[in-house]
């Protein structure tokens, strides 16, 4: 094996090293300039906007689970916190700019993340994973049962305020998509910078050997809480985008355990400890049901049972998780990386 491949492997497990940001920038350019020329509300509303929100949540989880090795089964709870916090800030502080609302949503999630990250200081592995379930169930319960969070709305389904950016109304699918794209791009850039420096190395060190990290002077507890906060910030903002730009309703029900699993599956399929992996995995998860229902329609005729497709999708997803963990633990990201090396070699 050439050392280029080995280096790529090392990087695929975590660190982009000193690589340039040219590739990601070109991708961003395509998404920001070329794709908005397409005239299809469906593309933006049903595919790209949820894709971006899921990507951002997965990116947040990947910082925590992929890089720092702290497995969380409570991502959806932090999405819910972000969504409801964003809603409440925009509702209760008249004239608060949308971006500030999103930032507050993320910060609220970060605070909650630190609180629920405290057990990680004593617990590891399964015990931590189980304790994150407490977050999941408690947050969902609190948002359902404490009516202040939903502004005492009894219907259980509340709508976000109209979205404005400056004087610019975000009232079309493309505009909402562009909002998501902008937020996701900035946060992704920051995450790439974060993991490529000393802090990123410290995260991986904590993951790979807590003792080794501690002996070298990594402040393990502080590092864990820090990444819980950052991860929750990202996931919280993702939840706000999901509710505001994609669903355009805010309800606790959508942020259930299945959503948490979904985000976890995104990073397993996309690649643990990989920024790119979060996007590849999210694309896969968003597109998979669409492909399966198309395939169902073709194979079984138009009258097929959509419940059947759900079940098949479930089985398919479960099988993929197992296959990826077994055959390609570094996920789609590693597959793509290898393709690129092969192409460069020829």
């Amino acid at each position: 094996m050439s050392s280029a491949i080995l280096e790529r492997q090392a990087n695929s497990q975590g660190l982009p090293g000193l690589k340039s940001f040219r590739g990601p920038f070109l991708v961003l350019l395509v998404f920001a300039v070329v794709i908005p020329q397409v005239h299809s509300d469906y593309l933006f509303d049903a595919i790209l906007t949820p894709f971006l929100a899921i990507s951002l949540a997965a990116l947040g989880l990947n910082l925590l689970t992929g890089y720092a090795g702290q497995v969380s089964l409570g991502s959806a709870a932090f999405m819910a916190v972000g969504a409801f916090a964003g809603y409440n800030f925009l509702l209760r502080i008249p004239g608060l700019p949308l971006l500030a609302g999103l930032a507050f949503a993320g910060l609220t999630a970060a605070v909650i993340g630190i609180v629920f990250g405290l057990p990680s200081l004593r617990l590891r592995g399964f015990y931590l994973a189980v304790s994150t379930l407490a977050t999941q169930f408690f947050v969902q319960w609190a948002l359902t049962n404490i009516s202040w969070f939903s502004n005492d709305d009894t219907s259980g389904v509340i709508s976000p305020p109209p979205l404005h950016l400056g004087g610019f109304a975000l009232d079309s699918p493309v505009r909402r998509y562009l909002l998501c794209l902008g937020v996701v791009a900035v946060l992704t850039f920051l995450a790439m910078r974060l993991v490529s420096g000393q802090t990123g190395r410290a995260l991986i060190a904590v993951r790979d050997s807590e003792l080794g990290a501690r002996v070298l002077g990594v402040k393990v507890l502080r590092t864990k809480l820090f990444i819980f906060a950052v991860s929750s910030f990202y996931i919280g903002v993702a939840g706000a985008l999901w509710s505001f730009a994609y669903l355009r309703t805010i309800e606790p029900d959508g942020f259930d355990l299945d959503r948490s699993f979904q985000i976890l599956f995104v990073i397993i399929i996309g690649g643990l400890a990989s920024i790119r992996g979060a996007f590849l995995g999210a694309a896969f998860i968003v597109v998979l049901p669409l492909l399966l229902s198309r395939a169902g329609a073709i194979l079984l005729g138009p009258g097929f049972d959509s419940g059947l497709v759900d079940l098949v999708q479930k089985i398919f997803l479960g099988a993929l998780i197992i296959l990826f963990l077994r055959l390609e633990p570094a996920g789609l990201s590693a597959l793509v990386g290898r393709l690129r090396i092969r192409r460069n070699a020829t």
Partner: protein, 296 residues
Amino acid sequence: MSAWSFFFEVLVAGLAAGIMYSLVAIGFVLIYKTSGVLNFAQGAMLLFAALTFVSLHERGMPFLYALAITFLVMVILGIAIEKFVLRPMINQPPITLFMVTLGLSYIIEGSAELIWGTQVHGLDLGIQDEPMQIAGVLVSQFDLFCAAVAAVMVAALTILFRYTRIGLSFRAAAEDQYAALNIGLRLPFIWAAVWATAGIVALVAGLLWGARTGVQFSLSLVVLKSLPVLVLGGFDSIAGAIIGGLIIGATENLAQVYLGPYIGDGIDSWIAYVVALGFLLVRPSGLFGQKLVERV
């Protein structure tokens, strides 16, 4: 009714619910003890067993035949999971194996519903469920039956572990896998046997849960109820699973009745986790779990 006898009734109902959690938790303990895998798919296996049994029975198969066939199916399923899914992943970190079983639970749940359909089935095991008066406290007969089944199962497992050759091998494998290999125990065989046993435990728990709540998709969610039990009792102790279950069941019910009016409905979704977590922070390896000493 006096406040005390009401309290006891709530307590007893809670303990009974706790036994139901323990039944599920025991399946986890079996596998964790011998192979270090936290099998999230235990709930899905339970659903699969109950759904298979009830569907066969509804299609006209006599009770015992249906039971025997489901028994076989669960043994085969357990062995197949071990052989085709987990064995190839030996030496992977435990948390990876946990995520594998997460995938597995999706496959099993999806398949169960794909094969048998998604409707809700009633399941009648022919057990009277009339409350009995014991020492002034009303107790459900069905709960007593469940407790008896749990007791029999724990006794059977204890005998299996303590007094049989294969049980000795289980324990050896649990103590030290390398040593077990060195003295010529066939670990793959042991693991297969454990998974088959876990399949049977899932069947028993599935039938009891199914009889109580109806056989439907939500059965697989009982796994979420048994996780705090495991955290409390330790992942590797059957006694811990029972006692953890009783504590969780009782606290949950008491909290719901006495705290519920003040803080809101549905706190049973998280109260067990809070109890388990609070406990964990004091004693990180559970009530009966082995303390892990980090070797340097």
